[in-house]
């Protein structure tokens, strides 16, 4: 999955509801809609390593590398409402 960083946690949260909590997420700083072609390409290239990791590693290796982070992203402990992104 590719996201801007504002939506990374939310993306993992939603992926978890579909049974995919360990989806590899390549993120870039938000926003991007104002970017011209050259900086946009630079942003895409910066995400390539993560994308290659997600496409080439085994599910077990991916889960091992993401597990701890994923748990905090999916549902922050004790948080039941949030006016700022969590």
């Amino acid at each position: 999955m590719i996201t801007t960083n504002t939506f990374t946690n939310f993306a993992r949260r939603l992926a978890a509801t579909k049974g995919c909590p360990y989806v590899v997420i390549a993120e870039t700083p938000n926003p991007i809609r104002q970017l011209e072609q050259v900086p946009l390409r630079q942003r895409a290239e910066a995400m390539l390593d993560t994308i290659i990791f997600g496409l080439t590693q085994s599910p077990t290796a991916i889960q091992r590398s993401i597990e701890k982070v994923a748990a905090t992203q999916i549902h922050p402990q004790g948080v039941v409402r949030a006016a700022m992104p969590v």
């Binding site: 939603l14 509801t17 549902h75 039941v80 409402r81 949030a82 700022m84």
Partner: protein, 338 residues
């Protein structure tokens, strides 16, 4: 299904209620307002009012795929302040909300403030004192307030639409507290909405719409049908996220005037569809392109909906030169049983 129970102790009932509210708020189980504690006795009374087994699952609610069983609905209905006899309405509404054709998951997580709007038809309105007349969309009627509230609690507690966590609605909306009314069939000069959808006039039904807004339309008193419709149409512009349709709650005075002018509901749909359009250069280029792609425009104009049939007409409210327009569509109508 896991069950938990919480016990509070105090010599004061008021203190017990306060403790229950504080605990429920900390757990994220409320809409911010106080709740009625869902005691086992109260929940059993509510389940008993349905004639269904407690474990029967009515639907699965996204995004967290919570199982909306009769018991779970009963818990949330008690918390919302419902009466037990409201349960069949909640069950039928949940059947509509969890229909595959209804975009419930989208509604639950989007940044848009969309929320379900419930329309009640048939004898259930009198049986449960559901307001269809003056003040029908406002506070004061227990059935209107608590049935709508129970729906919100169910979507939040069972589906997981916790504000800011799974629900990303940027502003959300006061409509998410409760958005429901009955159709004023008694002052509707045409056929009721549920009859148009194939039900018998004596059936009791609930229709759920995907609704994005609320817009009161004032004016058009003592004028002819063309001016009434022009006034209404001018308040129904093409809008982002509203493409699924439009719902018009026509005020009783305007309904009578339009009927006396010989207009049918189909006539209203066609005339409003022809009037509710604007030049595309009135809008941002991106939006205009999107509407054209969706089939809502041609010849330099953008239309409110793809066709007249997407403008739904209901009669509601009390006397006065008022109507209500909602960007609302994708109706799911269900029979209320029990």
């Amino acid at each position: 299904m896991a069950r938990t129970s919480v016990r509070f102790e105090s010599e004061s009932i008021a203190e017990l209620m306060t403790q229950a509210y504080e605990h429920a708020y900390e757990q994220g189980w409320t809409d911010g307002l106080p709740i009625i504690p869902a005691t086992p006795e109260a929940v059993q009374r509510f389940i008993g009012a349905t004639g269904r087994p407690a474990e029967e699952v009515i639907g699965i609610i996204p995004p967290r795929q919570g199982q909306a069983s009769v018991e779970v609905l009963a818990v949330n209905a008690v918390m919302a302040g419902c009466r037990p006899e409201y349960m069949p309405v909640l069950i039928a509404a949940l059947e509509g909300l969890t229909d595959k054709g209804f975009p419930l998951e989208f509604i639950q997580v989007t940044t848009n403030p969309m929320t379900p709007f419930l329309l009640l038809n048939g004898p259930i309105r009198q049986q449960l004192d559901i307001n269809s007349g003056t003040g029908c969309l406002g506070p004061g009627w227990r059935a209107n307030a608590t049935i709508g509230r129970a729906i919100r609690l169910i979507l939040q507690n069972v589906g997981g639409a916790l504000p800011g966590i799974y629900s990303k609605a940027s502003f959300a909306s006061p409509l998410r507290y409760s958005y429901i009314c009955g159709e004023n069939e008694e002052e509707n000069p045409w056929s009721p909405f549920h009859v148009d959808r194939g039900f018998d006039p004596h059936d009791s039904t609930v229709t759920v719409f995907k609704a994005s807004n609320y817009c009161n339309i004032s004016g058009g008193e003592g004028v002819g049908p063309d001016e009434i419709l022009r006034q209404i149409a001018s308040n129904m512009p093409p809008m982002y996220g509203g493409g699924d349709g439009a719902l018009l709650l026509l005020g009783v005075n305007h309904a009578q005037s339009l009927h006396e002018a010989g207009l049918t509901k189909r006539d209203l749909q066609e005339k409003l569809w022809a009037l509710a359009r604007l030049p595309e250069d009135h809008f941002a280029a991106d939006f205009a392109a999107m509407e054209h792609t969706a089939g809502r425009g041609a010849d330099g104009m953008l239309w409110r909906t793809e066709g007249p049939e997407r403008i739904h007409i209901v009669v509601a409210g009390g006397p006065g030169p008022q109507d209500v327009y909602m960007a609302a569509g994708l109706p799911q109508t269900r029979l209320i049983r029990g």
